[in-house]
Subunit: 112 residues, 2 copies
DNA sequence: CAATATACCTTGACAGGCGATGTATGGTGT
DNA sequence: ACACCATACATCGCCTGTCAAGGTATATTG
């Protein structure tokens, strides 16, 4: 494993919402785009991914519909809701805050 | 709750190790220093803290001994081991890497 | 026609965080 | 004297998110 998944834990929802801010997309493609973005260093496991979709839909952050593919496997598309966009913004703000906090907490400083 | 604990999850060990890099310390004081550093925005819950101590000691990252207080409640002091210092450095490196990766993953970009 | 890629989904185990609760000591206020 | 609070440690049991393992179905490729 290249990166401990506990470091990513808590960001799964944000990552998915971010991928839906631009346009609707389906699970398999979303996951591929995540792998590409990290140069293969990270991927959401399928079980994690689909669990997250259920969770986000339940929470009203995303909505889903079946695509009408003429060929190939069926695809379930997801679209982000207004509430989802709000959630995304909130999560982004939390991340900014948490990032600084973690930096401060794991730093070894002289003035103890 | 000011900060979602899942955002901190995975950093608990690093935070504790960082607090022990300078000098030995005991649980209660470590937790207070964490609260002070974040201006009260974050604290490790006691259950989390002591669970982490067990985990880290088990892993050989820290060692513990009872302080010889003449007064007040007894204190269990922890000191970081060589292995613990190595682990700390590794965790710091992972964090740097993960930080950039998360930033990239939760960002909304045009080129999708 | 077997293998591979695409695409979805569920179950059960596991690990970490934490609320609740318990122990014991010593100082402070009334 | 007695209640209360701060210090200081510890454990139990629940909850939640991750994920290995397994399953379904369709289309392409050698």
């Amino acid at each position: 494993m290249s990166i401990a998944s506990d470091l990513i834990r808590g960001h799964t929802d944000t990552i998915i919402l971010a991928r839906l801010m631009g346009s609707d997309n389906y699970g398999y493609e979303i996951n591929k785009s995540i792998q590409e973005r990290t140069g293969g260093k990270y991927e959401l496991k399928e079980a994690t991914l689909y669990t997250a979709f259920r969770r986000l839909e339940q929470a009203g952050c995303i909505a889903s519909y079946w695509g009408n593919e003429q060929t190939g496997a069926r695809r379930r598309y997801y679209s982000i809701t207004e509430s989802g966009r709000d959630t995304y913004k909130t999560l982004m703000a939390e991340w900014k805050s948490a990032k600084g906090m973690i930096d401060q907490l794991i730093q070894v400083e002289e003035n103890e």
